[in-house]
Amino acid sequence: MNYPVWHLDFAGGGLPIAIMAIIHVYIAHFAVGGGLFLVLTEHKGLRDKSPAILDYVKKHTKFFLLLTMVLGSLTGVGIWFTISVLNPAATSVMIHTFVFAWGVEWLFFVAEIVSLFIYYYTFDKLDSRTHLMIGWIYFGAAWMSLFVINGIIDFMLTPGNWTANSSFWSAFFNPTFWPALFFRTFLAIMIAGLFGFVTASALKDEKLRISMQRFSASWLLVPFILFIGSAWWYRAALPPHVEELIFQRMPAMKPFISSFVVFSPLLILGGLLMAIKIPSGVSRSLAGLMLVIGLLYMGTFEFIREGGRRPYIIYDHMYSTAMFKDDVAKARTNGILESAKWVDRKALATADTSRRGQEVFRLLCVSCHSIDGPLNDIKKIAANLTRADLELATTLMGKQLAFMPPFAGSQAEKDDVLYYIHRTLLNKPE
């Protein structure tokens, strides 16, 4: 293990990235689908010769700009900041493999910023054809950002032939690239509809409000079938052992999969309600509720996708502990405290069992487990386990407990970390 470990107890188990990623991914998808929503709504306003609709587009653009340009962009940078402190080794692999893909994504980001600013500030200054063209450029750049990022994200789940040939192209156009691209595109369009509800339901003119709510509902409901189809394709494209692990062998995934299944009809029902004539106050509350359901929907999907990689951070290459798959055997033989670079061996030489166990915990467990935190709290998980149960669990890691990496330490280190969990953290007798 190459890098120092940021010592986190409560926030262990990936809490910072979970918070940052869920917010970002939701807004980032809105930044794509919402771009299409803007130009097609402007088209509609021009076609219907409706100044009211055009005025609505302008107001929606302001909302869109303030949300995507600030919170969306910065949480995107935030994800990068967060992964580089939580798992610098994996981040380094991804940066070195995809540096020019990131570079291209940055270029599209430049185009997004320029086009969105111009689009917002030139509603009354450019002729409609040129203005629409700027809007289409924004959408094209935003979708291309999705195209690039999609390749990198799915590489982590399904690196495909890259593990054998190290080719950029194998890594980028990996086995789940295309289904994930369609899946995310349809999701982005649906999310545009959810955000459309928010601004449409705030309109004062009732006729326009209902018309724009119906228009937004069509964005949510029409792509839904295609979205479900692409989700099926996505699942089918997963390697069989990954698919089996996610859907059958990982108990922690069950609530997320169930939630995803439950939220789908809720979104359809909400979309249908928004399309009928309901009072303004009800539609505003429902729009807010739908937005929250959308966030949870996105969150459950991201948890499933992220969880699906377990026990790896880059499938079949690097474990979530930042240890390369090929280095596990060495760490078992020599011990993790000898193999890892960032260990104060001099201090540990005279340390007691609990302190050594704590160090092993930080090296091998903290990436997935918190202490007293909301994510995978080791104290809750181990609360009802005996010392023998814990011993058995560490033996089954990487085998029956396939979502966990194999324990990458010596027998003495295993004893130390079990002592730390059982005696120090849970204060249980030997």
């Binding site: 190459n2 890098y3 120092p4 470990v5 940021w6 010592h7 940052m20 303030l66 340009m69 600030v70 919170l71 962009s73 910065l74 949480t75 940078v77 935030g78 990068w80 900041f81 967060t82 580089s84 402190v85 610098p88 080794a89 981040t91 380094s92 692999v93 940066i95 070195h96 995809f98 540096v99 020019f100 990131w102 570079g103 291209v104 940055w106 270029l107 599209f108 980001f109 430049v110 185009a111 910023i113 320029v114 086009s115 600013f117 111009i118 500030y121 030139t122 009354d124 200054k125 450019l126 700027i134 450029i137 750049a141 950029f168 192209w169 670079k341 960032w342 104060d344 001099k346 201090a347």
Partner: protein, 355 residues
């Protein structure tokens, strides 16, 4: 403990290291120019909020109108150098980032607040009244803190000898107080920001003057005056910074030391010319010479980093697994998107009110 034993093993580069160094230098230049403009101009806007003079209020309003754009580009232009820095110096940069992880992640929260404060200052300028100073002041303070954290990260990154502090403070709160260059380095950047930001304000009014704004002259003069004062002060801070640098950084017997010395003299000369031009209110030439100064300072900065890391890193010896096709694709996109952005900016610049 030998710090060399702590340095992580680097990952392989896909193309020759020189390309990354070139991209790093060019994009850092873009970022620093934008960052200077944000910092300096928001500082001026903050000062203007204390004036009761309506002209000063207009200055604040004008800056507030531009601030969200410049902030957006500052952040965007910060992404690219961070990418190339991580590619070329990742084993040092990731380490320093983990050592100050808590401070590092706080940057995101502070940037979000800064950005929204700038938008509130812009969109609610008239109705904010006495709260204007609060919002723009908040943005300035946060930008100063963010700048310090960046300086701290670069300081930690190029001083592996400071890394052993991790073992007594592993919670991500490390500040490299042991580095005597930390303070002058930071101040050098901050004062440069205020100087360049002032010049950017002068440049803004220079363009307004060319479009017929008769009141622009006063702001051109003020911007040039503040730029001159800031740059002269920065000469002093720069020499202080230079004095704190270890001898090997300007050792002319090494290639990096030689190049550092040349670009340093060049930047001092270019800075002096920019001050002379600004003193006679010749904004455009002053801006051109300032850009040259900043560019040379970026190269000087790169040379200092290479000298600092010399005992631990030789760029030509970094592992390489050559794959040029993604790089070529990047260059194609660079040209294509560059042309598209140029067309959009030209279109917006020529836009007239549609009746």
């Amino acid at each position: 403990m030998d710090p060399a034993t702590l340095i992580p093993v680097p990952d392989a580069l896909p193309v020759h290291w020189f390309w990354f160094q070139l991209l790093l230098t060019v994009t850092t230049f873009l970022h620093l120019v934008a960052m200077n403009i944000v910092l300096g101009s928001s500082g001026l806007a903050f000062i203007s909020t204390f004036s009761t003079d309506s002209n000063s209020l207009n200055l604040g309003k004008e800056i507030g109108h531009k601030l969200p754009f410049v902030l957006a580009f500052t952040i965007n232009f910060g992404v690219a150098p961070l990418l190339f820095l991580q590619t070329l110096y990742g084993q040092f940069f990731y380490t320093s980032t983990v050592l100050m992880a808590s401070l590092w992640l706080s940057i995101i929260g502070m940037l979000i607040v800064t950005y929204y404060a700038a938008y509130i200052f812009h969109l609610r300028f008239d109705s904010l009244a006495r709260f204007r100073a609060f919002f723009i002041g908040l943005a300035v303070v946060l930008l100063l803190i963010i700048s310090f954290f960046f300086t701290n990260n670069i300081s930690l990154m190029q001083m592996p000898s400071s890394w052993t502090s991790y073992f007594s403070s592993p919670n991500g709160w490390l500040v490299n107080w042991g580095d005597i260059t930390l303070l002058p380095r930071y101040l050098h950047f901050i004062v440069s920001g205020f100087a360049v930001g002032s010049l950017a304000v002068a440049l803004l009014y220079e363009f307004k003057k060319r479009r017929g704004d008769v009141a622009a002259d006063a702001w051109i003069k003020l911007g040039c005056k503040w730029f001159t004062i800031g740059t002269v002060i920065n000469f002093g801070i720069g020499f202080w910074f230079l004095g704190t640098l270890p001898g090997f950084a300007h050792d002319v017997t090494t290639s990096a030391g030689k190049l550092f010395t040349i670009v340093l003299y060049g930047s001092v000369a270019a800075g002096a010319v920019s001050v002379i031009k600004a003193m006679s209110n010749r904004v455009v030439p002053a801006a051109i010479w300032t850009m040259a100064t900043v560019f040379l300072m970026v190269i000087a900065r790169d040379m200092v980093r290479i000298s600092y890391l010399h005992p631990y890193l030789s760029l030509p010896e970094l592992p390489v697994k050559t794959q040029y096709s993604p790089f070529i694709l990047f260059l194609i996109f660079f040209a294509g998107i560059g042309a598209l952005v140029w067309w959009m900016l030209k279109t917006a610049w020529c836009a007239k009110e549609v009746q």
